[in-house]
Subunit: 428 residues, 2 copies
């Protein structure tokens, strides 16, 4: 390609991105004051149109599936890309569930009457414009759009190129739903270019975009954090621990351990590391280790683990810091609750960590001192999830502490303003 | 200076900054689980020591005052730098007031019992380590330290070089208080070098520092935002508006206008711009304009303002966007409430904007549509302040929407974690 032609394309691309972002900003101002009833109609109409257009959506998806091999997708990725009548129905049901959630915008979070008679209300408002970057699964398109609409935010969706046709069919249905109910059609926009440079342009538009949510691998998140001029909702790794305390019910501990590790290994809230108090190591580790091994899990442990679980290989420092997302687990025998806490705060990723114990003080100390988005007492790490916590649909899980931590649903995409009602008060 | 010597100094400085930040991180882990009672003792002991050491603090302050001319400080700046027995007492009282606030850490913000019996608690926790950059007034040192201690955060204080001796005396008293009550002495650290490069080093330490709060001019804030690898609590300009609606009580409107503009002109919540509905312009503007002029305020208005206020000079686009912080005010006659809202959202700085009206719909529409941290109905803009809102002492005002908006006190320096109590639940 000639240099001049490349330069023209660059200008076109940046102009396109700016236009999308400005439309989103404009739509967000309208959305912010749209009534809860209109947003519900919008979501329900969207669900109805997804159902009506099921065959068109499946046809678009078939195109994506046909092109999948040329993008180098493996069988698991193609499986995630695939839609079915049941999955289109699930998207529609998901949108209706979000519609049915309590209206967040305008909610008075708290209010005070000041001694001078001023009534100070803290009122929930949308963030503005969200830029959402995600990968293959097209059903995420409908979920993310629903969460943003409900929270009064305009959203710019940047899906993967491998799902471009499916995403377009879904977003077109939502645009028609917007028009039908009098909501801004630009509330939900799909980036229509798959040029990777577009992401870079969007990340500079901090006048238009209030928050970026990158959902994908660590490399994507690090790139976004490095380039973004606006805040980023980050979800780094999930190196989750199960700590079996001296006072644990060992049968419960084994059930929780097996569930946390084996229920679904490729997800962020699966356990990657097992810590066992030295006083129960002998009673717990041989049987628990054997069951993990039977389930195909490779164990990597310290010397004391090796003595009790002959199959375990030696663990390195890297093992204790690893998020395997697969059939490997690190193991360590610790001398005390404090050692377990220190180990987790040192090697963990502040995501989800569990303790199994019958001792109240141990439970409370662990819960207070482990610096993670979720600390679970006597249950599986797999429960750290917006749905399980009762937050409704989630757009991501934050491993940050600022703004939102843990599962992020509708409410985590909001801010607040103070509205103050007076009767002519002036400051002395 | 020889190049090698410079290089050594650079290494020393970066090593010093890293050491300070690592100490702060370590102290923050201790602080996070310190009991509310111990934090209260810490703050009260700090207040007592400030009182005991009043003469030493004033002597340190006298050194700073003596050096002030060589730093080029003007009379107003020297005045802000000056401490007195009364201001040392005020610092102590301020610390005691923060001590008396409700303990924020460990508070269950909300809790749900899930259908499977899991009890999900959302519990308030500290952010971790705060890096606070500020200028001349030494009393800010005690305020900021108190807010951080109460919220369980370690703080790295970077004060101005012109207040170095005063700040050191105050921080030394707080370090002794920490030791006296068994709190970590590194909870409150003062950066002991006034080398500007130190700020740059700290801004790269995102593994140790969770939040930066720059309190100062826009240039400082922009520099910090550009360099910081961690989140920044931003406080940009305050271009605040008073909008006099068609349905305003005009006598109230004039009182509010004069107070908002003239009560204290150099602060962020002072009004900079006046908008008047065309239907009341003739009844309102001549008298209000005359009173402002009498108080020495120069008015810059549109053509319609000029017809009603002969003294007014023509306003430019820049005038409508300006934060004067002094005796100038922009004025515009608008055709409708919607025009006022559009003007504010276009030219304003999302800080504080007031409407004067008796009309309920106008008040509600203005409050919902103006995208500012505080919207004031029938009162002065000057009330946007942590103390006036009942938040207690504030460490800054955020013009951001993410994390915290408006005045930031103890609670705004916290995050949360989920603590989940189960009875052996596993995920199906």
């Amino acid at each position: 390609m000639a240099t001049a032609e490349k330069a023209t394309q660059k200008v076109d691309l940046s102009a396109y991105c700016l236009d999308v972002a400005q439309r989103a900003r404009k739509a967000s101002a309208e959305l912010a004051t749209l009534s809860g009833a209109t947003k519900q109609q919008y979501l329900r109409r969207g669900a109805a149109l997804l159902r009506q257009r099921q065959s068109a959506i499946l046809a678009a998806n078939a195109k994506d599936l046909a092109a999948a091999p040329q993008f180098g997708l493996d069988a698991a990725q193609i499986d995630r890309l695939r839609l079915s009548p049941a999955s289109v129905e699930a998207m529609a049901v998901g949108m209706e569930a979000v519609a049915a959630q309590q209206e967040p915008i305008g909610q008075v979070i708290e209010s005070t009457i000041r001694p001078n008679g001023l009534e100070v209300q803290k009122v929930r408002v949308p963030l503005g414009v969200v830029f959402f970057i995600y990968e293959s699964r097209p059903n995420v398109t409908a979920d993310a759009a629903a969460i943003c609409i409900k929270s009064g935010n305009a959203v710019i969706l940047r899906g993967g190129k491998e799902a471009a046709n499916s995403n377009r069919a879904i977003v077109d249905a939502l645009a028609e739903a917007a028009t039908d109910v009098g909501a801004p059609a630009d509330a939900v926009q799909l980036v229509s270019t798959t040029d990777r440079a577009a992401v870079g342009y969007f990340l500079t538009l901090d006048q238009q975009i209030d928050l970026v949510i990158p959902r994908g691998g660590e490399a994507l998140i690090r790139r976004v954090v490095a380039e973004a001029k606006m805040p980023v909702l980050k979800h780094y790794t999930g190196n989750c621990h199960v700590y079996v305390d001296r006072a644990a019910d060992l049968a419960m501990a084994q059930r929780i351990l097996i569930n946390a590790k084996c229920n679904r290994m490729g997800v962020c809230n699966a356990a990657e590391s097992l810590l066992v108090h030295v006083d129960v190591a002998e009673a717990f580790l041989p049987a628990a280790g054997a069951e993990l091994t039977k389930k195909g899990i490779e164990l990597r442990g310290d010397i004391r683990t090796g003595r009790l679980v002959p199959d375990a290989r030696p663990a390195t420092e890297e093992d204790y810091a690893a998020e395997y997302l697969g059939p490997i687990m690190s193991v360590k025998v610790v001398d005390s609750l404090e050692d377990a806490i220190e180990h987790i705060n040192r090697y963990g990723s502040r995501h989800t960590d569990a303790i199994v114990t019958k001792d109240l003080d141990s439970a409370r100390r662990f819960a207070a001192a482990v610096d993670s988005s979720a600390v679970i007492v006597n249950a599986s790490t797999r429960f750290n999830d917006g749905g399980e916590f009762g937050l409704g649909a989630e757009i991501g899980i934050s491993t940050d502490k600022l703004h939102a931590r843990g599962p992020c649903g509708v409410r985590e995409l909001t801010s607040y303003k103070y509205i103050v009602y007076g009767q002519g008060q002036i400051k002395e």
